[in-house]
């Protein structure tokens, strides 16, 4: 019917044309399919490796894992710095349905303070997305238990365990161990200077003081890595591979914690420091500076209030007086000077002088007084040490001259760092002509030398320097660096650290050592000795020297570290001794600020420490 109506149209021609166009369309479609396939071939086959790597890069996140910090032991294996598990309440904000209500509920449940909430809000702004934010750190076990019972009510909130540094002996070891605290900008620069950025990638705390700072690199250990599979929101799905971190080295110190605690108990409220060492190797058995403070305050960030209390304390607890306190060595260095006089033959063992209570140079009006106004009468070099006669040493110093004194005392380490394993150390001052010219642009006067002759004037030394110098005398000139580190603990075996020796002090006449040591023993043994009273009825023999630094005669702006003379003008009391005399096992320095005479104030403390170490402690072992 239709065909009849449309007679003009050639249906078979139409059909053929349509078929040709269809075939062309098929050809065109095949062409496009070829284009698609060749593109896909290029993506999936040619560039497969590239895209596979990129897909893995999307999916795999490598996160650093912090190593456990090395543990620190005392010489008997008692832990004095450890890593304690702590529990932190952490919130994964993205997984919390309603943060405000959750916070309010947690606040009520765990009795959190407004400060906790405020700190959380601060941390939240700093934290990267999809990283949990800490709401409460260091939770008590009770709070952990309360939260655990209600955990099902809090999506996205969890208690996470981590390790935190803890110093079980608190303030007793602060100045030895120092502390770790949050890594700051300056620490980051330091780490960069070691080239250790990647090793610290997961580390939060770094040693800031003491042993923690000095042995930071050994205590820290080596970072580990975990390969995590993450989704597009950064959430961890599973751990693919783990390269465990290597824990830091466990250190064993020469410190004996019981002795350390005993020393602390002896100082009570007095400002000053006590250092005890083993003269046979320079090992530091105890080192305490008073007042001290609790290092645990710093570990998780000290509060502004606690910090300003520490900073504003006039007794300056942050200072480690044992290595940073710079005092006039006073009479403590008389044995050293005596050695020098004998060596240079300015005096002999037989030289005697008449001490009238003062020393005066010819044609000079100024007189240098002996501490004993009436004088010590006729004294030789040995007795001058025992009674601490100033006049004898005034004259000897005058004869020696500053250049000899400077040269010889430098050999004992005065004016130089002892290189004890603490970075906080001060070097004191061993004055010389050159030093005075550089410092004050003034010539050296003879009077300056005479003051140096009794350890006053421009001469300052730290307690640890003085202790080091007495060890040198004990060892007839052999010098060991004072050292806190005793050994490294590996698999419960102590691997001793090598001893560090310094250049020995050379002498021409070795018998001079014996003379000086005999004088120090008699300072304790003989009734006229300045330390006799303090050591009456001791069950062991001991040797020592008292020192009383007269601060009033020292110009404030001249030499001594301002901290020492800033508050009071009372004398510093000092005692430097060792025991037993014939085979010394310990040497002790006691340096008390503004405490009065050394014989009556410092020597008794030294006696207690020696009693403890040689008596009680040995009796028990």
């Amino acid at each position: 019917m239709a065909k009849q109506r449309q007679t003009i149209r050639d249906f078979s021609a139409e059909s053929n044309l349509f078929l040709r166009r269809c075939l062309f369309a098929v050809f065109f479609c095949l062409l496009l399919i070829f284009v698609i396939l060749s593109n896909l071939f290029s993506l999936q086959i040619d560039q497969f490796e590239d895209y596979k790597i990129r897909a893995d890069g999307n999916r795999i996140k490598v996160v650093p894992v912090a190593p456990n910090r090395g543990i620190i032991y005392d010489r008997n294996g008692t832990i004095i710095a450890e890593n304690k598990p702590v529990f932190n309440l952490e919130i994964s904000i993205e997984e919390v349905p309603n943060l405000d209500t959750t916070l309010a509920a947690l606040k009520k449940l765990l009795q959190l303070s407004d400060t906790d909430i405020a700190r959380f809000e601060r941390n939240r702004k700093r934290q990267r997305r999809f990283q949990p934010v800490t709401l409460k750190s260091n939770m008590s076990e009770e709070r952990v238990a309360i939260f655990s019972a209600h955990q099902h009510l809090f999506d996205g909130v969890s208690v996470e365990a981590s390790l935190s540094r803890f110093y079980p002996y608190g303030s007793a070891l602060t100045h030895v161990l120092g502390y770790v605290s949050k890594i700051n900008e300056r620490d980051l620069n330091l780490i960069a200077s070691w080239g250790a950025q990647s090793n610290y990638a997961a580390t939060k705390n770094i040693g800031k003081q003491g042993i923690e700072r000095y042995y930071e690199e050994r205590l820290h250990g080596k970072v580990g890595y975990a390969k995590l599979e993450v989704d597009s929101k950064g959430r961890t799905l599973r751990v693919l591979e783990e390269n465990a971190p290597i824990a830091g080295e466990d250190l064993v110190l020469n410190i004996d914690i019981e002795l350390q605690l005993y020393v602390q108990s002896q100082l009570l409220e007095r400002r000053g420091s006590v250092v005890v060492s083993d003269p046979r190797d320079g090992g530091v058995l105890a080192m305490y500076s008073n007042p001290s403070y609790d290092p645990n305050l710093f570990v998780n960030g000290i509060s502004q209030k606690d910090y300003s209390t520490l900073i504003q304390n006039p007794d300056r607890p942050l200072l480690n007086r044992a290595v940073q306190g710079q005092y006039p060595p006073a009479s403590l260095i008389k044995p050293h000077l005596a050695l020098l006089g004998l060596e240079y033959q300015v005096v002999t063992a037989k030289t005697k002088i008449q001490d009238k209570g003062f020393y005066q140079l010819k044609d000079v009006e100024h007189i240098w007084r002996d501490w004993l106004r009436r004088g010590h009468g006729i004294v030789d070099i040995k007795r001058s040490i025992e009674v601490s006669c100033d006049t004898f040493f005034y004259e000897m110093a005058y004869k020696l001259g500053i250049d000899n004194i400077y040269e010889y005392m430098s050999q004992f380490g005065f004016g130089e760092y002892t290189n004890i394993d603490l970075l906080e150390e001060s070097d004191g001052n061993m004055p010389s002509r050159g030093w005075k010219r550089a410092k004050f642009n003034q010539p050296w006067y003879i009077g300056d030398t005479i003051s140096v002759g009794i350890g006053q004037g421009y001469w300052t030394a730290t307690p640890v320097q003085l202790l080091d110098s007495i060890n040198t005398i004990i060892n007839d000139g052999q010098r060991f660096r004072p050292q806190l580190l005793r050994a490294i603990k590996q698999d419960n075996i102590d691997i001793p650290e090598t001893l560090n020796e310094a250049t020995p002090v050379q002498v021409l006449s070795p018998e001079n050592w014996a003379l000086v040591k005999q004088a120090m023993q008699d300072t304790v043994r003989l009734p006229h000795g300045t330390a006799h009273k303090a050591f009456r009825n001791a069950t062991y023999s001991s040797s020592g020297k008292t020192g009383t630094a007269q601060l009033f005669s020292v110009g404030q702006d001249e030499n001594v570290d301002d901290l020492i003379i800033a508050d009071y003008l009372k004398d510093n009391a000092m005692y430097l001794g060792y025991a037993p005399s014939d085979a010394p096992q310990i040497s002790v320095i006691v340096a008390l600020e503004n405490a009065g005479g050394g014989g009556s104030n410092a020597a008794p403390i030294s006696r207690s420490v020696m009693d403890y170490w040689l008596g009680e402690k040995y009796a028990r072992q």
Binding site: M1, A2, K3, Q6, I8, R9, F11, E14, S15, L17, F18, L19, R21, C22, A25, V26, C29, L32, I33, V35, I36, L37, N39, L40, F41, L43, Q44, I45, Q47, F48, D50, Y51, K52, R54, A55, D56, N58, R59, E229, V230, D231, S232, K233, L237
Partner: protein, 372 residues
Amino acid sequence: MPVSKTGIQQRDRFLTKIHIDGWLLAGLLLLMAIGLMTIYSASGQDMALIKRQLIRLGIGLVAMFLLAQIPVLFYRNISPFVYGIGIILLIAVLAIGVTGKGAQRWLDLGAFRFQPSEILKLFVPMTVAWYISRVGMPPSLKTLLTALLLVVVPTILIAKQPDLGTSLLIASSGIFALFLAGMSWRIISVFTLLIGSFTPIMWLFLMKAYQKQRVITFLNPESDPLGAGYHIIQSKIAIGSGGWTGKGWLQGSQSQLEFLPERHTDFIFAVFSEEFGFLGVIGLLLVYGFIVGRGLVIASRSQFLFSKLLAGSITLTFFVYVFVNIGMVSGLLPVVGVPLPLVSYGGTSMVTLMSGFGLLMAIATQNRVMPR
């Protein structure tokens, strides 16, 4: 042999009776199965999503079946009227339509939302086929210009919504009908040149900022790897990391770990490529190729010009869907919102597609009973 041949003939007769083309139906069902499997993986094994897709596929199959029963002559006769209604609806969309995702595409009919541009996907080729079948082929220049006008009006109206993907598909469906009708090669060349010179005008005056952004991103996705380029970069990583054999079903890290955007909708091809690799892709393209081939066979077997042009146009437009989607997902073409037909999760376009196949089936099975 004779027994089984009789069996096939009986089956063919039964399918013809209910107006179903068996080969085409088999291809479509295979695609749907592939789609469901891939959606299951892409959605993170979301059974609720699979159920919703099953319902849509069911609706699509029912629509196809029902439309296959209606005489082709009826379609031919109503073409100009439905076209007119379609244009009115498109104008209504621009006037009072509902806005969503930065575009105004829907009419709110109270109970449900209705997207008139979808039905135009069928009405435009129907109308062009109707027009050409009235005047005969090959078309004269005047016929051609009139037919082009029929195509251009809805194309522009839809492009203004803006819905670049759909307007592109509608323009192609009309142009395919004209091409199959024997539009002369000389005119085709002239128009190609015209479109070429029109491109800068489109860029300057017609395209919206976000459309321009898509083109810029397409030309250099790495320029904005976390922003506009993110989709295409992640998609290429997914496809590329599939390799020859893929990572295995449910094993694609790009899709399972949600790095890939629009995983179960427009970018489902990337999921498929990642999990089934280049070999899987060849298989998928074979299925599409088979459906296109079957569609063209139906078109050329039809003895009715309206049917030929409509069937050819529907089939080739279906192929354009496939090409544009795979092209954009694999970085050959800019990202326009075109789903992978019958595989992507989605509602309206699926029903339209299945309706188109309903028309194809009507054409395939009613040839012999149609008056010439």
